[in-house]
Amino acid sequence: MAAAGWLSKDVAVIAVPIVTILLGVLIGWLGQRSGFCSIGGFRDFFMFRHTRLLYGYLALIGGAFIGYFVFWLITPSAFEHFFWYLTSGLTPVPGAPAGLLVTGYIILAIIGGIAVSLIGVLLGGCPLRQVVMTSEGNVKALVFVVGMCIGAVVFTAWISGWIVALLKGLGIA
């Protein structure tokens, strides 16, 4: 069963780049003005008890929940598996390497989460902050974004397959 949103499929396939680039411009503007940073929020809280950015990240989770909930009430077919835990249990929303057991996903989430925020803290920001700093003229952030692009290809071409093979070998996929 295909999910049905407010635009029909024919229109949506054309609207995707337009709508997402507009959303991006708005988020870029807001991100530049507010200095929004997810990992920075936790860092500032644990280091200095500053809550400014942390509340921003928590507001993002809250805003997402409210948005999904309200729009789900209006058009359930566009939010088929909301509230995910109640419809799909302990599986993750697709996006990580597919076809693993729950244990495999939990291990990947733990390794990924720890590594991501370690890098974020040591290099001064989460990915959104790095992209915004790139646009502010920070060459180090630009190099980070270039690294992300390389990482995307490296992951998809090789690492993704290795992980699935390794976890299958260990019997948790």
Binding site: F65, E80, I114, L123, E136, G147
Partner: protein, 175 residues
């Protein structure tokens, strides 16, 4: 008179733009709105905003077009005429804002710092894709009710605490 009023509105809007709480709520609600709008083009769900995955979609799509490879991208980016361009938009939006508010400054670093940032970016992307998203998509997925994403969020918090320990140790050693 009309000009003062317009300026006042502008200041109020900018105050909201500078407040992370309004920005967070707005990004969350808009990410949900965009899913309602575009989900017919393809999944996955809770995919309205993600710096890691959306960058992956654009880069892999470009590499596929140039090199004729078949690197995986999300169904929505595969079906649409062009992939999801959020990150390109963020680059443009932040650049305009930085220019408008005169906050654009070219900042360079040392060769060694570039090396760190390059590998940092590579590993960041790899590990973000391990858990199926950057901290932003994790937030959206938590809001969507995904328990695995919540575990990822706890891991992010643990990683921040470790990162602070390491950063403090480095700072102390360098005195």
């Amino acid at each position: 008179m009309a000009e003062t009023k317009a300026n006042e509105t502008k200041t109020i809007l900018d105050d909201l733009a500078r407040n992370p709480i309004t920005v967070g709520i707005l990004i969350g609600v808009l990410a949900a709105f965009v899913q309602g709008l575009l989900i017919s083009a393809g999944g996955p769900e809770a995919y309205g905003f993600c710096v890691a995955c959306h960058t992956r979609d654009v880069v892999n799509d470009a590499v596929n077009a140039i090199a004729g490879t078949k690197l995986a991208i999300a169904p929505i980016s595969l079906n649409a005429i062009l992939p999801i361009l959020t990150v390109i938009g963020v680059l443009i939006g932040a650049f305009i804002s930085a220019k408008v508010y005169r906050e654009f400054r070219t900042k360079t670093g040392s060769a060694i710092s570039y090396t760190w940032y390059l590998f940092g970016g590579v590993f960041f992307m790899v590990f973000a894709l391990f858990m199926g998203g950057c901290p932003y998509r994790i937030a959206l997925r938590v809001g969507y009710g995904d328990v695995i994403a919540f575990i990822g969020l706890l891991a992010i918090i643990a990683g921040v605490l470790m990162g602070i320990k390491i950063a403090t140790a480095i700072a102390e050693r360098e005195g």
